[in-house]
Symmetry: C2
Subunit: 256 residues, 2 copies
């Protein structure tokens, strides 16, 4: 099934636009999980078992797995394999970019080795760096537009002419000939989210930054539309009761 169908179906079945970021940090793990033979997988499994009826997607960020070396990446594979047994799509957050034939190697890794349903891509290098990902027509390609960190002001929203994030949104609209593109817009910039939404139409919009980063949930939901994917990571997975936090956030989203 294509990523988009999987997303729409999970969103409908679970009445949810909530995505949970699976970003393992061993320093924050409970002692019993830390002492288990496969702590990263076991930590993720517990989150997945407790929240798969509450979310529209899971988003592991590969950086955290890479930082634990080969074990981390093996645990990532086991995690994705486990999620693929549910009906929830996996967005593997990688923010990759490179020239065409190298981007093709990244796309192969993400979709054929790690078997993700979707990924995130950095647009700095332009169309031929994004195309090898888009060519996986059944997969979802989220292109960074306006990110949730402070540094977005350096380039994405700088200058006196048309801001870079607007130019990126317009290009993504153009690149979307297979209908598998989306954009990433931080919950920290909801005025700009509204502008971007007007350009990209009904593409899915991945919106990080509502949890630990303190973004605007109401504005994100209001302007992100039906295919807003509201991501929270640390504020859920490291809480005392991840299921309760996930349910609370899902219901909050649905109220706006």
């Amino acid at each position: 099934m294509s990523f988009l169908k999987k997303l729409d179906s999970a969103s409908k079945n679970n009445n949810s636009r909530l995505c949970i970021g699976l970003d393992p940090d061993l320093k924050k793990f409970p002692k019993d999980i830390l002492d288990s033979p496969d702590p990263i997988f076991n930590f993720n499994k517990e989150i997945i078992d407790n929240t798969q009826d509450l979310v529209c997607a899971y988003k592991p960020n590969i950086a955290f797995y890479e930082s634990y070396g080969i074990y981390g990446l093996e645990a990532l594979m086991r995690t994705i394999e486990y999620i693929l047994k549910t009906e929830i799509p996996v967005i593997l957050d990688t923010k990759r970019s490179d020239v065409g034939h190298t981007a093709a190697a990244y796309a192969k890794a993400i979709f054929e080795i790690y078997k993700a349903d979707a990924t995130t891509i950095n647009p700095y290098m332009g169309h031929d760096s994004v195309e090898p990902f888009i060519n996986y027509k059944e997969k979802g390609i989220f292109i960074l537009c306006l990110t949730s960190n402070k540094g977005f002001r350096d380039f994405q929203a700088a200058g006196t002419g048309e801001p870079l994030y607007i130019s990126v949104a317009k290009h993504v609209k153009e690149w979307n000939h297979y209908g598998n593109c989306g954009v990433v817009v931080g919950a920290t910039s909801v005025k700009e989210l509204k502008e971007i939404k007007n350009i990209v139409g009904d593409m899915p919009i991945l919106i990080p930054g509502v949890g630990a980063q303190g973004g605007d949930l109401e504005g994100s939901v209001k302007y992100g539309g039906k295919r807003a994917i509201i991501n929270a990571s640390r504020s859920i997975i490291y809480s005392d009761n991840p299921r309760m936090e996930a349910e609370k956030l899902r219901d909050q989203i649905n109220k706006f």
Copy 2:
């Protein structure tokens, strides 16, 4: 030893500004290496054994290793470990970028797990996405400025105001408080290389695109300056005689 000292020393000892890109593609491997138990490492080892007196750096691009799964990444680790026994620095081409705490996880992976001397970084997300890399003061941080692919026209050199690549070069100049930054500029844009060089001064400039991508070698050497690092990958490693091709290119660089 810091990356910059290692680079300057290798460059001086080998009288070379040539960097060889180690980008494995099993489909192009000779049959005897392909049939060996550790083909990627054996292929790289042969290149390294035959060229370590001719180069100033090696640049494996992690994308190719990722596309071969866990085995590929293990072979990358063995390759870097092997290069670290020589006096040649390793630039691990990753083009990573993410928000601060996630960028820190990438930096840990690149410098502590893979043990590279330097890496390449995508600037789209701005200062706080680059800072965790720069904080490894002994490591080299090459920030993408103007890339060698066609897509550079979409954003890097688009618009009517100050082009993005100029803004990036100015920011890198500002971020370089530890003296460990560099930039990436494609050999396909030598007029712009001259402009960028005027901004960044004596920072090292990593210049891909002279081999298979058909960039301008003379202009790259002339405007790149003493710390130009001229990278070629496919045109050397898949030639019939990598040592001869490497020597030829090194000598050509030194003639300009």
